[in-house]
């Protein structure tokens, strides 16, 4: 299946290669470079590239291209998913998946790749198993290793691969038995100028950090499982139990893992926690414009809205911005044309406001597009969908674990509010309006 893997940095250096079958010359990457050049941006490199004798399937992660070489038919997602798993494993092992980290740990990387694929077919991709085979580097261990000459390859052979619970290693022991669950929700919403929600959905994940001895069997139940519209699970979750009872029943892997991801769709259920009043306009003459944005909290259920950041992608002709913010700081990058207003905590009493003038390139026509606003925010101790964990029970072990659930709502990374300001005034004048 997967023949070879090349890791390439942004500058186009192949800094690691690994072959699982016979060796393929790295000149095959020239086809990739060609495509990369054509695509201009790394995001636009087609994930599958055809060359006369091979197919290149690549992903771009953390400023590294993972380019795999394929010779015969294989589901592309199979390879893509695997490559992402590799990147995640690096992250897991080295803290981040950067070129420096990989180069520093090149031997471990090589050992990992060796274990993860056999003849191009995935062999061990569970972090629990791999960590038994190859210990992750720590400062202490690398020091000890360099002195004693011992190794980071596990002395004992892993049991997980052979057990019926392949995601969990055997013989786990902790003095403090703890299980923490983070319910993290991200809102993804598009509002129009008037503040009406055009589109809104909530993506949630439950990330777990389980440090329990032995073989605990956990059951997590929700107060309101009906809220969840679509779910996907870690392989440890017993699907039948979910189907019949709507509880998550599982023997957890050891350590950090993503228990489930879910999706809440109902439009009206999604309460947008802030509102925005905004006015960005450009004048026909005088090559200037005006900007006025005010944010206020709304439906936050008594919780504070934190880490509020407003980002505006300005049109190309905007040369500079001369603004005053009542709260927080703003920066405008004239090269990327991005205005960032970092507000911080949202104040109920005094609403933050950003106001001022924009200077445009003289002589250039008034920009046609009206920029949209992206708002990132975070609310602690609140899952905006209202999802609540009811209880967590443990079977199979005798000790009493410490349990904790944390809720966070975010609008960032993947989810963000987009407040557009074109919608209204265009619809009425729209020739497309039917």
């Amino acid at each position: 299946m997967i023949h070879s893997l090349f890791l390439i940095n942004n500058a186009g250096d192949i800094f690691l290669e690994k072959h699982w079958k016979s060796v393929i010359s790295r000149s095959v990457c020239d086809y990739f470079f060609e495509a990369q050049e054509k695509a201009m941006e790394p995001d636009n490199v087609p994930p599958v590239i055809r060359t006369p004798h091979h197919y290149l399937i690549n992903i771009y992660r953390d400023k590294i291209f993972f380019v795999s070489v394929i010779q015969t038919e294989v589901p592309p997602l199979f390879v893509i998913e695997f490559l992402h798993r590799v990147a995640e494993m690096f992250q897991d092992y080295f803290g981040d998946c950067s070129e420096v980290a990989i180069k520093d740990n090149v031997v471990i990387v090589y050992e990992l790749l060796e274990e993860m694929l056999d003849n191009g077919f995935p062999l061990a991709t569970e972090s629990n198993i791999l960590k038994e085979l190859i210990k992750p580097p720590t400062i202490l261990r690398s020091m000890v290793n360099s002195i004693t000459g011992s190794s980071n390859v596990g002395e004992t052979l892993p049991t997980g691969q052979l057990s019926t619970v392949p995601w969990r290693r055997a013989g786990v022991k902790y003095t403090n038995n703890e299980a923490y669950f983070d319910v993290v929700e991200e809102i993804d919403a598009i509002l129009d100028k008037s503040g009406t929600t055009v589109f809104a959905e909530i993506q949630g994940v439950i990330d777990a950090c389980v440090k329990l001895s032995g073989m605990p069997d956990l059951t997590l139940s929700f107060m309101n499982p009906r809220l969840l519209d679509d779910v996907s699970f870690h392989p440890c979750v017993r699907f039948k139990r979910w189907e019949s009872e709507r509880v998550l029943s599982f023997i957890p892997p050891d350590g950090n893992f993503r228990l489930m991801s879910y999706h809440v769709n109902a439009q009206n259920l999604v309460a947008i926690p802030v509102y925005v009043r905004q006015n960005i306009s450009f004048f026909e003459s005088g090559s200037s414009g005006r900007l006025d944005i005010t944010l206020g909290p709304k439906q936050t259920m008594g919780k504070t809205v934190e880490c509020v950041v407003v980002t505006v992608h300005m049109p190309k002709v905007v040369l500079n911005a001369n603004l005053t913010a009542t709260q927080g700081n703003y920066t405008y990058d004239p090269v990327t044309k991005i205005l960032v207003w970092d507000i911080g905590k949202l104040n109920q009493q005094k609403l933050p406001n950003l106001k001022g003038s924009l200077s445009l390139q003289s002589g250039a026509p008034k920009p046609e597009e009206n920029p949209s606003l992206n708002i990132d925010l975070k609310i602690q101790q609140l899952a905006i969908s209202g999802l609540k964990v009811n209880r967590l029970d443990m079977y199979g072990e005798k000790y009493k674990p410490f349990k904790g659930v944390k809720y966070v709502t975010k609008a960032g990374n993947h989810g963000h509010f987009v407040v557009t300001n074109w919608k209204l005034h265009n619809i009425l004048a729209s020739p497309f309006y039917v």
Partner: protein, 1108 residues
């Protein structure tokens, strides 16, 4: 790797593994000498004795390999270390070896023997890794060795080794395709494997080696369906893809009669489907007359049902695989379920989105209704990469229908304002496609596009012109206004394609704009020389058409243009000009064609069809590479068309397997633990039988009841936890016990329907609860002490050490036995009854055969219990015959001191891993010997010695016996040491006969058979013999075997067989010996032992003993 030298490497200083920049880089020729020096240094390190140096060297070498540097000249130095003891060095050597073996075939052969040895290692992981590396060495000479190794590993008792064997199959196949037939045999064997670990890998091998041998799947089809949910993710993808193909060959098209079966809901759902669909339905209706109503094959249903939960997988590839399976195999009404899961994947990484959108685009053409509810999920974000935007646009266009077109157009309109110009162009094209597909909005779209013509962005205008041109072709009469408008644009617009389109339009419809057309030609004639080629061609076209329709006004202009073209640099244009001139300007010579000039030029041209590029892509299996590229990729297996009539479904029937067949404990556990997780069997009839066939020991009813037991157990636990939230710790503990209480009696019950047993259980629980309520006041401590007490108490039946361990390990498998015990005991046992105890932290449960031996089924356990009293005690079985003495020191060489030794076959109490050796000293001299003791033992690695206490004095003529212990490490290597007196030292050595390296253990006949079943293949040695004259009866056979080897007798039903069991003293490997007597003094001797060397030697010795 010469190409690698072309890449000047970056600074690698940061690397912690040294600076491995010293590859053979011709570019750095100046430091050639130092290169070699560096390599010498590596070689030295590799040759050293220190593992740490070796490791350091290997790390640096691997770092070189990783960077693509050539390290092949180190091969001889590296390959020497293949047998290194250090695991990490070994691993790195493997990495290196696999990388360079192909280039250095001769040297690579040196390493082969190491792997061959590894293949016979008792540790399954070492066997597996040896096979992995051996099969990765691409050297043709070793093909036969690989073949042999794969065959052996395929029948290994460890599923992990079998999995590795499956992985090795495609490796060998790619090395030597001629082995195909043999490999198919192995695949066939492995396909029948019942463990989830193997399933994915063997199907992968099947797909790579013999995907055309679909008939191999028949017998395994149901099993694969049932195992699927427990197979690891990657295996699931491969199996699902293969089963899709299989189902296409074996079942009937479920949609063939759909109009009959699912009229109501179906129609509504797909009401928006176009005419094509209606035709289809008509055809189907016609076909219907001939056919009987469609009934889905239960196996087909099984596949659909068992794959559906996997839509919830976290792995995008699995979700996609299920989605394509449903798309290709499910009845139309059921395909809808995949939409939500696919939409979910759109929130994943952009590469995943890219692939999923391609597939969704194909699906939306055939099954629009399915994705319509998710329309908004395909709305484009400003942050999407362009390639994703364009794909989403494609999907949106495919989804457009009369009902949603207004929303979609509004959305499109905002896209036009994007800064991403490629995307804008694609949007305009999409609008054009919507307009052609949906008649109602054609005018609206056209108007909108015309408005775009006044856009400031030239690209937008140009693209609009091109699309308008296509739209106008459909109904030109009504749009002379638009054509006029466009004619005006020609002054401003510069994009050649747009200019060409306008000119073509004017020429084509010059009759609608009779006044403007000649004027446009006039303008173009002026600028002709400066135009792009495609524009010039269209000018020629325009001129010709005008000449034909309006020659009065344009004759001169046309002549002028044609003359200009005649001297153009481009021969195409010169050619065209010549051709047109001949055709339209009548001359004397002009042939018959010129009569038809008007017909030629002004023929009615069919309107272009604006089609999705994804149309008809679904003849490729969705989710495949070929589908993505829209061409056949190497190794692609066509998705067959549905058969007209279903092939015989009975080929998938599997005979009910024999339950007597024994398998390892682990597999049994697997079933027990997993069944309640995913148990799928409710309400399933025939096809599930293969799921049950997984269970390998005990009766079927037993396993069934066990299953329901644990299932309902967990159900109840939830119930309870909800109702009694505020319970305190103690009570919870009690509950747990009660729960187990319940499950116990059930297990002893025979199979009952799930429901009834569940109810019964509840009742029982209530009863227990009441009973217990009185004792709730009991303190925790009490119950705990009870538990410890009972644990030791339960062993009271004077069982051997191993038996004790067995009990602890497999408490769940012997509930009935416990029923007979006292109530208190029962309670405490219960805690360990939880299945999870089986995962108790043993470092590697499969590795040592002791554990294997310990695994025992319920039945045999019971038998064992009942037999314990009758089984002979160890002392009684010890050979009564006089023990053979060996000479250690002859009295002449010992200067009067004679020493003999024997193996007294007693357990050596200070260390159970040692063999007890009794040493008998005789002092034949006339004076006493003092201070007899042992010094300077010289032992093979791993061997240990426990000296006897020093003998202070041995008077003349006296003798004395002492016992010492030696751990021979299960080898017949001699233990060398010095025997010292107060005056002399004698070098002596003790070499054990193989039979003394073991100690008897007690097995029941069933246990024996089971263990024997696990020690097949390489671990079994068997030979025929003729029994010696004095050795014809059982008694003498037993005597002789016992004299040869320290084994225990196994009680046995048949009088023809004699069975013996033991384990090696040092490592505890099982040794099983069977002597089966035959007619006429013949016999068959079989030795099963994981340590093959011991097995072989023992075989020889016993043969010798029996034939005397």
């Amino acid at each position: 790797m010469s190409s690698s030298s072309a890449f000047n490497d970056e600074k690698g200083g940061s690397s912690s593994v040294g600076e491995p920049e010293y590859g053979h880089d011709p570019a750095s020729g100046g430091i050639f000498s130092s290169d070699y020096k560096r390599h010498d240094d590596l070689k030295e390190m590799l040759d050293s004795n220190k593992d740490s140096l070796k490791l350091e060297a290997m790390k640096r070498i691997v770092a070189m390999v990783a960077r693509g540097k050539n390290a092949s000249d180190l091969f001889p130095a590296v390959v020497k270390n293949v047998a290194c003891k250090n695991i990490e060095v070994k691993k790195l050597v493997y990495v290196y070896l696999v990388r360079y073996a192909e280039e250095q075939q001769d040297l690579a052969l040196l390493s082969i023997s190491t792997f061959q040895r590894g293949l016979k290692d008792p540790n399954q992981l070492i066997r597996a890794s040896a096979l992995r590396v051996l099969s990765s060495i691409r050297v043709t000479i070793i093909v036969p060795i690989m073949m042999l190794a794969i065959k052996e590993a395929a029948s290994d008792m460890s599923p992990y080794v079998r999995k590795t064997a499956a992985h090795a199959i495609p490796k060998l196949y790619s090395l030597d395709p001629e082995q195909k037939d043999q490999l198919i045999e192995v695949i066939e064997k492995l396909l029948a494997d019942k463990t989830t670990l193997v399933a994915g890998s063997v199907v992968m091998a099947f797909e790579e080696v013999c995907p055309e041998r679909i008939e191999l799947i028949h017998k395994n089809y149901r099993k694969l369906c049932n195992l699927l949910i427990d197979v690891e993710e990657w295996g699931q993808v491969v199996i699902i893809n293969m089963l899709t193909r299989y189902a296409r060959t074996q079942f009937l098209n479920p949609n063939i009669n759909e109009s009959l079966l699912e009229e109501g809901g179906e129609k509504e759902f797909y009401a928006s489907d176009d005419d094509e669909d209606d035709e289809e339905k008509k055809a189907e209706a016609a076909a219907l007359a001939k056919r009987k109503p469609y009934v889905m094959d239960p196996d087909h249903r099984l596949l659909l049902r068992n794959t559906k939960p996997l839509l919830q997988s976290r792995n995008a590839a699995v979700v996609m695989a299920v989605a394509q399976l449903y798309f290709h195999l499910a009845p139309k009404a059921e395909v809808g379920v995949i939409a939500k899961a696919l939409v979910r994947l759109l929130r994943s990484h952009s590469e995943v989105q890219y692939v999923v959108l391609q597939n969704v685009a194909t699906m939306t053409i055939k099954r629009r209704g399915m994705f319509e509810p998710h329309l908004k999920s395909f709305y484009i974000r400003s942050t999407d990469p362009t390639q994703i935007k364009i794909l989403k646009l494609e999907v949106l266009t495919n989804l457009a229908s009369e009902t949603n077109i207004s929303t979609i157009l509004r959305e499109f309109q905002t896209y036009i304002k994007s800064m991403d110009k490629d995307f804008v162009a694609a949007t305009i094209e999409a609008i054009g496609r919507c307009a052609t597909n949906i008649g109602e909005v054609r005018d609206t779209c056209l108007n909108g596009l015309v408005q775009l013509l006044s856009n400031r962005d030239e690209l937008v205008v140009a693209e609009s012109v091109v699309v308008i041109k296509k739209l106008l072709q459909m109904q030109p009469e009504q749009h002379s206004e638009i054509i006029k408008h466009m004619a005006k644009l020609i002054d401003n617009i510069q994009v050649p394609m747009a200019r060409a389109s306008i000119l073509w339009l004017i020429g084509e419809y010059c009759e609608h704009v009779p006044k403007i057309a000649p004027d446009v030609l006039r303008k173009m004639a002026k600028t002709f020389t400066n135009e792009e080629d495609i524009v010039k061609l269209q000018i020629l076209n325009l001129a010709a058409k005008l000449y034909l329709t309006n020659s009065k006004q344009t004759k001169l202009l046309t002549q002028y243009v044609l003359n200009l073209a005649k001297y153009d640099q481009n021969y195409d244009i010169r050619d065209r000009a010549r051709f047109i001139r001949q055709l339209i300007v009548p001359t004397d010579k002009s042939g018959a064609l010129s009569k038809y000039a008007k017909k030629l030029f002004l023929a009615l041209k069919p309107a272009p069809v604006l089609e999705s590029p994804f149309k008809d892509r679904d003849h490729f299996q969705l989710g495949s590479l070929s589908h993505l590229l829209n061409t056949k990729a190497g190794g692609y297996q066509e998705l067959p068309e549905w058969p007209d009539s279903a092939p015989d479904p009975s080929v998938r029937n599997v005979e009910v397997p024999e339950w007597s067949k024994c398998t390892s404990r682990k597999e049994r556990k697997e079933k027990k633990v997993e069944k309640p997780f995913y148990s799928d069997s409710e309400g399933e009839s025939g096809p599930t039988e293969s799921a049950d066939s997984e269970s390998d020991s005990g009766s079927r009813s037993e396993s069934d009841s066990e299953q329901t037991g644990s299932g309902s157990e967990s159900e109840e636990s939830v119930e309870e936890s909800q109702s009694e939230e505020e319970e305190d710790e103690e009570e919870e503990k009690m509950k747990k016990k009660k729960k187990v209480d319940k499950s116990q009696p059930k297990k002893s019950e025979s199979a009952e329907s799930d429901q009834s047993s569940g109810e019964e259980q509840k009742k029982e629980r209530k009863g227990v609860k009441q009973r217990r309520s009185g004792s709730e006041s009991e303190s925790e401590e009490e119950s705990e002490s009870e538990s410890s007490e009972s644990e030791s108490g339960s062993e009271e039946d004077s069982e051997s050490d191993t038996d004790t361990r067995k009990k602890k390990k497999t408490p769940a498998s012997k509930p009935t036995a416990k029923d007979t015990k006292k109530e208190s005991k029962k309670e405490t046992k219960e805690i360990s009854l939880l299945d999870l105890d089986d995962f108790a932290p043993t470092s590697s449960p499969q590795v040592t055969p002791v554990n294997n031996f310990l695994s025992s089924s319920l039945a045999s356990d019971l038998e064992g219990l009942s037999l314990t009293d009758t089984v002979l005690a160890p002392t009684t079985i010890a050979p009564s015959a006089s023990v053979r003495m060996y000479e250690l020191l002859h009295r002449i060489t010992g200067e009067g001191l004679g020493v003999e030794y024997c193996f007294n076959r007693q357990a050596f109490s200070p260390d159970p891993h040692m063999v007890a050796v009794q040493i008998h000293f005789t002092n034949n001299t006339s004076c006493e010997t003092k201070n007899l003791h042992i010094e300077e033992p010289k032992l093979q690695s791993g061997m240990r010695i426990k000296e006897f206490p020093e003998i202070d004095m041995l008077p003349a003529g006296e003798s004395v016996s002492v016992v010492m212990g030696i751990d021979f490490c299960d080898s017949t290597q001699a233990a060398n040491f010095q025997l010292c007196t107060h005056t002399r030292k004698f070098f002596v050595s003790i070499q054990p006969p193989v039979g003394e390296l073991m100690t008897p253990i007690f097995l029941t006949e069933n246990e024996f058979k089971k263990e024997q079943g696990q020690l097949m293949g390489m671990n079994e040695i068997s030979d025929k013999l003729t029994l010696g004259e004095k050795c014809q009866n059982d008694h003498s056979i037993i005597e002789r075997v016992n004299a040869t080897a320290n084994l225990g007798r196994v009680p046995c039903g048949s009088d023809k067989d004699c069975r013996f069991a033991g384990k090696t003293v040092s490592s505890g490997s099982l040794v099983l010996v069977t002597v089966a007597r035959k007619e006429g003094g013949g016999a068959q001797l079989t030795v099963n032992c994981e340590k093959m060397v011991i097995g072989t030697m023992l075989m020889k010795d016993i043969l010798h003993a029996l034939m005397q």
